[in-house]
């Protein structure tokens, strides 16, 4: 398991700033067990800022124990890095597939793109850097693909700049033993694409089914109270895969009431019998979107 907190630019006003944020994501994936396929068209430190409205991309492949061998379910993640039309703001969108890509075109079951940031918000200060949090199951020596969390530009000045993505394989749990299985992959996102975009979708193992339809919010637990605090505890509200039934909830992300957490703090939740640290955030792109209003997210950071 790996967690990285970086401070990256949120503008494309210079090559250095462009390489800062794009390269930051790419470097994290590369250093923590994700396999970069041969299908990419960006080299950080070399590739210039794309033209207005254009993207470059990398395609990454899962590399965990469920990605090879009998019953394997490898999947592909296309990360597109772009430049907004008018203001040199970053654009970031991510798609997933069960088959490999050719010249950026994914094959098999495909879901996305999930627009984390469409760039259509006011520009950040050139050269300024903002907190970015990345977490995955892999390490430099252990392949990744079971889980990924990406929270970009949490501290950016622009209210709609922060964006979030969580990816996690299906979970098996018998009351005492936790493991991942190769049935499907759940993707949830919170970002901005002309408006707040909260999304959830399932990428099915192609041997089991086709992918589910995009949901316009997260399948989590609601509360109409201003706080869920009770008996000196604040509940972690899980996000559930929706696959024709309610399956075991994700560990990569949960939700909470905004009033119950302090932005940017680390909090602990016990899931499936194991304690994990979570980063709390209730920025505009999910505060006003997740479960309608006044909610925050908890991103796993171990």
């Amino acid at each position: 398991m790996s967690y990285s907190q970086q401070f990256l630019c949120a503008d494309n006003a210079s090559s250095a700033d462009w390489w800062s944020w794009g390269g930051g994501i790419s470097s994290f994936l590369s250093a923590n067990g994700w396999t970069k396929t041969s299908d990419y068209n960006v080299t950080w430190g070399t590739t210039a800022v794309p033209g207005a409205g254009a993207y470059v991309y990398e395609v990454w492949e899962s590399n965990d124990s469920l990605s090879s061998g009998p019953g394997a379910f490898p999947y592909y993640m296309k990360v597109e890095y772009g430049n907004a039309v008018s203001n040199n703001c970053p654009m970031l969108r991510i798609s997933f597939s069960t088959g490999p890509s050719t010249s950026g075109t994914l094959s098999g079951n495909v879901i996305g793109p999930f627009y984390l940031q469409a760039g259509n918000t006011a520009a950040e200060t050139t050269g300024a850097s903002f907190e970015c949090d990345m977490s995955t199951d892999g390490t430099s020596s252990v392949g990744a693909g079971q889980r990924l969390g990406l929270l970009m530009w949490r501290t950016a000045a622009n209210a709609n700049r922060p964006c979030f993505l969580a990816v996690e394989r299906a979970i098996s749990w018998n009351g005492s033993t936790f493991s991942y299985n190769s049935n499907y992959l759940t993707v949830v996102s919170g970002g901005y694409n002309s408006a707040v975009a909260i999304q959830q979708q399932t990428l099915w193992n192609p041997t089991l089914g086709v992918s589910t339809t995009l949901q316009t919010n997260w399948a989590s637990l609601p509360s109409n109270l201003s706080t869920n605090l009770a008996l000196n505890n604040v509940p972690f509200l899980p996000v559930f895969p929706m696959v024709g039934y309610v399956d075991n909830f994700l560990t990569a992300v949960g939700t909470t009431k905004a009033n119950d957490m302090v932005e940017g703090t680390t909090n602990t939740a016990v899931l499936y019998g194991t304690s994990h640290p979570f980063l709390a955030s209730y920025k505009a792109n999910w505060n006003s979107g997740i479960l309608s209003v006044n909610n925050g997210l908890l991103m796993r950071i171990d």
Binding site: T202, W218, A219, L221, P222, L225, A230, N232, F236, L237
Partner: protein, 386 residues
């Protein structure tokens, strides 16, 4: 596990109708052996008069012990009010039964006398028709399952008549009572159906509507006037805490309600946790003040913003106790997207590795069990039906 389906009036315009639906609920609870036991609190409702023949009395200190045989009506219960006549000097009274023996009952009566060869009689006092907008009868039922001593719960039920002469029901919960009609320990707010005053639904006369009861040790579900719909259909579900295997524990009791937003015409879902004594006070979520069509009231169940059917399977969402953390889900009720199931349908859902049967309703009150956002008003509920 047991279930009971009855067809009851939804009307309090006459004493007969008031007794018809009130006594049916009371009788259903009385029949749930091993789950509910009526307490001995004084002042509780008597739906059917009990008539006795009294043959003797014995004075014991400041109490009079009456020897009787039952002429008609239900058995006596401690706490009942009884009136005796033709029982000899100082023994004709109206008092509260404080103890029962084999063919005897005891009433406090300091000046009573010992008598034999009596041709006396006794009778209990039955409920009367409440005035519009008032409560007419009260009962207290204590959970009496194997976890009752670990996590006691008493349910206070008030039966009444709304401004429009529709049934009025109110529920309050606590750990115990003082024997005289007052709850103690972790006492919750009172949740009632929205019909006592204001623009409430009216009674519907002699028409009969489906009322469903389902229970087992540790679990109770009651769905009243299901096919009347709108604001009139209400639900109450009660279930003990569960471990990860689905076995009951004594940590707390979860109470779920629908259609009980007090005097408002709101859909009125509420979720309540009553912890075991000494572990904290009641925790309530989900009740809102006003607005029948509110999109801001909820149970702790999964909100449906997207498609719920995949590969022919319609997702069923559990309801999770919320007690500072989310715990293992209850089985007494589940939610579904309204469009995924027909009103009144029976369906199966698997919880804790076991398939259970559920009865579905999606009448007006049940559309708002979750916050709705852009796709609001879409939920329905399954009550465990086995």
């Amino acid at each position: 596990m047991s279930k009971l389906q009855q067809f009851l009036v939804a009307d309090s315009s006459t004493l007969a109708n008031f007794i018809a639906w009130g006594s049916a609920i009371s009788a259903a609870l009385a029949g749930m052996t091993g789950l509910w036991t009526q307490t001995n609190d004084t002042g509780q409702a008597v739906w059917t008069q009990t008539v006795l023949s009294i043959s003797a009395t014995a004075q014991s200190g400041s109490n009079t012990i009456f020897t009787y045989t039952l002429t008609s009506g239900p058995a006596l219960r401690v706490g009942m009010s009884i009136t005796t006549t033709n029982c000899g000097t100082n023994n004709n009274l109206t008092g509260t039964i404080t103890a029962l023996g084999s063919g005897t009952f005891t009433v406090a009566n300091a000046t009573g006398t010992t008598q034999t060869g009596l041709s006396g009689s006794g009778s209990t006092t039955v409920v009367t028709l409440p005035a519009t907008g008032t409560v007419g009868a009260t009962e207290f039922w204590a959970m009496s399952d194997s976890l009752a001593s670990t996590c006691p719960l008493v349910m206070k039920i008030q039966y009444g008549r709304t401004a429009g002469s529709a049934p009025y029901l109110a529920f309050t919960f606590g750990a115990t009572t003082n024997g005289a009609g007052t709850l103690f320990g972790n006492v919750t707010p009172t949740y009632s159906n929205p019909q006592l005053s204001g623009s409430s639904p009216s009674g519907t006369g002699s028409a009969l509507y489906e009322c469903d009861f389902s229970w087992a040790s540790g679990r109770f579900g009651m769905l009243l006037w299901r096919d009347l719909g709108g604001a009139a259909t209400i639900f109450l579900g009660i279930e003990r805490s569960l471990n990860s295997s689905g076995s009951y524990t004594g940590s707390y009791v979860t109470v779920l309600g629908v259609g009980m937003n007090n005097n408002s015409n709101s859909s009125g879902p509420f979720q309540l946790t009553v912890p075991a004594l000494g572990t904290g006070g009641p925790v309530a979520i989900g009740i809102v003040a006003t607005g029948y069509n509110t999109n801001n009231c909820a149970w702790a169940t999964i909100n449906w913003f997207g498609p719920t059917v995949y590969a022919g399977s319609a997702a069923v969402s559990p309801v999770f106790p919320m007690i500072g953390y989310f715990d293992n889900p209850v089985t007494v009720a589940v939610t579904m997207k309204a469009s995924d199931q027909a009103e009144g349908a029976n369906f199966s859902a698997t919880l804790y590795g076991t398939a259970h049967n559920y009865l579905f309703t999606k009448s007006g009150n049940f559309n708002y069990l979750m916050p709705s956002g852009a796709n609001g008003g879409v939920s329905g509920m399954g009550m465990r039906w086995e």
